[in-house]
Amino acid sequence: MKASNNDFSIHVATVNGSGSQTANTTLMRSIFQMGVPVSGKNLFPSNIAGLPTWFTIRVNESGYVARKRRNDVLVAMNPETSVADISAMGSGSIVVVSEGVPAPKIPEDRTVYKVPFDKLVQPLVPDAKLRKLVVNMVYVGVVSHLLGIDFEEVDRSLTAQLGRKPKALDMNRAAVKVGAEYAAQNLKPAPFRVERRSQTEGKILIEGNQAAALGAMFGGVTFLSWYPITPSSSLAESLQAYLDRYRRDPKTGEATFAVVQAEDEIAAIGMVLGASWTGARAMTTTSGPGLSLMTEFTGFAYYAEVPAVIWDIQRVGPSTGLPTRTSQADLLSVAFLSHGDTKHVILLPATVEDCYTFGMNAFDLAERLQAPVFVLSDLDIGMNVWMSEPFRYPDKPWDRGKVLGQKELAKLSKFERYRDLDGDGIPYRTLPGTDHPLAGYFTRGSGHDERAFYTEDPETYKRVMDRLAAKYETARTLVPPPVIERTKGAEIGILGFGSSHWAIVEARDQLAGEGLSTSYLLLKALPFTKDVKSFLESMKLVYVVEQNRDAQMKALLTMEYPELATKLRSILHYDGLPIDAQSVVDQVKEREREEVLSR
């Protein structure tokens, strides 16, 4: 059997609510501390306790952190799913299974390690309820031994998590030890090993929602309203926690922010519009169903030109869909969210670093453009654990956009709220409370002229709509440009965005290894910047990779560049699981074969 070092996936199957998180984090962090890149993905049901849940740790010294289609190491702790979990394991894999858990007969090229988890943990923890939690730490010991994970790192990681609770720490340490000892005495060596490297030095592990929250805090958020919805709640809750810790006066407890849990998503976006109209830096976080409820107000914000930052952590629709699975299927509806002619600015984070950066920049853009700005993250980026360089402190002040205060108004003979004075489609605004007789104006979602007066005059309506279109053209010059990687001589392009990025990176290397070199455009925003067009023009064919059924990005590209549409091919993935490199490779190869045949 060929030993595989620093390149495998560990899949842990447990029951939701069984407290496996500390155990899985310990495993993941121990490997990370040994200098080997990791990623951690939760696959969880829409349930609090009782249903099956899985955690997958990808270990890869080349830094590939997308989901791997096949897992190599399985820890089967859940009797409800063990038969299916074990049957899914491929040739050369290993299975650690709890004694007494149903296990099917599998081919001999898989190694099965039976471990009497319950017997091992019993003497350590007299309390049966507690035992259910601590038993997870026994598999940490077993797996660490099998994979050669340094026990010093296991202890360090455990201490980091439980250092404040000495009793719990001792109990968990003992569980790790008992597992490790059992493995050492009874189990034969495994074909997978972790070997020390230095690729993770100075790096952080973080979830995208947490990164977004940090970005928002350093971007100077002053108002957040939200309604609980998976998978966006952890963004709001992380932000609340960071703000409570770092934006309250330690003596008086006074806050430089407000967080309001709204009664629904309509109220959440309404509060955001009220707050940002008044001058606060305001945001909300939501997911598909919440976005549907926000529809009317986002059209209002577009037309009445009120800034707003809206994070959509995408999950699987339509309707309630698969609330705890990932997708990129809100794209098309967000691009034009609301009735009438509306089109929105969208940021597309691909990495946790993007989440942090966009957490700040989305405010600058929204206030500069006086428009709603959507950030389309997804469950895979938002709720899974990613490795990253540490985030950098902002080197620029904020951009509050075109706001006239008392001093500026004093120099003017008139103020017209919706007059385009600079030719960029962006007018000037004033904030309520500005002490000047010219400051006041009337914001409305009904037809209005440059002075914000009500009108149904056809020419005026058209003029305002044309200016909003001109503003959208200005947005094109302000949004983050795509990241383009050109390979010399490559005629095939890949265009992707968001969480598909990591699978694409890996797929491109695989394709290159098989003789197909590609150039790559990682899209970061809508509207498309001019680089998108020139990339499409320069390629013979472009594969558009996206995690939805209807090829939504391809549709947007086709609308924008109909003359280039014949170059576009779709690579789709929409089963709710994060996209993996193999899916991209297989589909590209399939399409390439078709291309050759059709020639």
Binding site: A160, G270, G279, A280, Y393
Partner: protein, 355 residues
């Protein structure tokens, strides 16, 4: 000025209030509502109340939803910022505005459809949070802009212009507000400015949500025989609890009444409301009494008007949020971007996994 020109009022005599403004400074654009609309009378009372109270127009944010009533903020206080939101959602806008700048005075105008039908949820949550705001319901029981359909405040047995009779229980916004602990609940009639003005002034001095439900007949779609909210019917069935006088905090007036004839309520800012007894002695500090009074009034086909309930000490929403004194909207970058050391601390914890 950026707003529509106000029509000069022949009655304006150049009198100035305590901050040196005239009534004209509190006016807005010409109304586009039907001549004789109750809402225009309320607009007049708002202008007069704001003038008399000496409110600084630039400190006011006017808010509304959708409907005839929600158009009216364009017709008063043209120097103030206004926000005409989407249907039934003014409360959420108001909440955001109030939290973003706690130094503003919020004046919201809504209708019965906007509040009790499409906007009931947001209205209740606004009251529940006690967002500081004067929330006026211009209540005529019908949808005017869509030509006469019933709203959720239409009384049982009231006949629409089309001849249809409403059989459903009306939603009483005052009763709901009291139930949710609103600290200022009053009902009035657009045709009774003598009662409405002091109520509006007192409501503007209240530091939490003040709900003022004003019966405001629709001359076009709900002023016929058989309608309970016609001018004639409201006038005949108006049952005021008391005469209301408002003494602002900056005026030191003593009103002289015979003992037992009046009740006085001191608001949080030191201003006072004097209630002169008309019939029975009514205690506006008793929520259960208020609810039973509303209930009995409805049974007797009476519109009970006056200050139904008041609790001047109820804590407003921003107290709950423990906000800094400076409005969130005007905080400088230094106060809202933590220093680099904070980022370093967070990054260090993400390297080690230390919580």
């Amino acid at each position: 000025m950026t707003t529509e020109n106000a029509t000069p009022d022949p009655s304006a005599n150049g009198n100035k209030n305590r901050i040196g403004l005239t009534v004209a400074d509190y006016r807005g654009a010409k109304s586009t509502l039907c001549p004789g609309c109750g809402h225009d009378a309320i607009t007049g009372s708002i202008i007069q109340a704001a003038f008399e109270a000496g409110i600084e127009p630039h400190r006011v944010a006017k808010l509304s939803g959708i409907g005839c009533s929600s158009k009216t903020p364009a017709y008063f206080l043209s120097r103030s910022h206004g926000f005409n939101a989407v249907h039934g959602r003014m409360p959420s806008i108001a909440t955001g505005v109030s939290v973003a700048n706690r130094s503003l005075t919020l004046l919201g105008v809504s209708g019965d459809g906007d509040t009790a039908s499409i906007g009931l949820g947001q209205f209740l949550h606004l009251v529940r949070r006690n967002v500081p705001l004067l929330y006026i319901v211009e209540n005529n029981g019908v949808y005017g802009l869509t030509k006469g359909q019933f709203s959720a405040t239409a009384d049982v047995g009231s006949k629409a212009k089309s001849g249809r009779v409403n059989e459903l229980m009306p939603i009483d916004v005052c009763a709901l507000a009291i139930e949710l602990g609103c600290g200022f609940v009053a009902r009035s009639f657009s045709g009774d400015p003598k009662q409405l003005r002091p109520i509006l002034k007192a409501a503007l001095s209240h530091r939490g949500t003040a709900v003022v439900d004003v019966i405001s007949p629709c001359v076009t779609f709900n002023n016929h025989e058989g309608s309970t909210k016609s001018y004639l019917n409201v006038k005949e069935h108006d049952a005021p609890l008391h005469d209301i006088f408002f003494i602002p905090r900056y005026e030191n007036i003593e009103v002289d009444y015979a003992p037992g004839e009046t009740r006085e309520v001191t608001l949080h800012d030191g201003s006072r409301i004097t209630l002169k007894k008309l019939g029975e002695d009514y205690d506006p500090g008793d929520a259960l009494r208020a609810l039973s009074t509303i209930h009995h009034g409805r049974q007797e086909d009476k519109f009970v008007t006056g200050l139904l309930y008041v609790d001047p000490e109820k804590e407003p929403f921003e107290q709950d949020l423990k906000l800094v004194e400076t409005p969130l909207a005007s905080l400088p970058l230094e106060q809202v971007r933590p220093p680099v050391e904070v980022l370093e601390e967070v990054m260090a914890s993400l390297m080690t996994g230390k919580s």
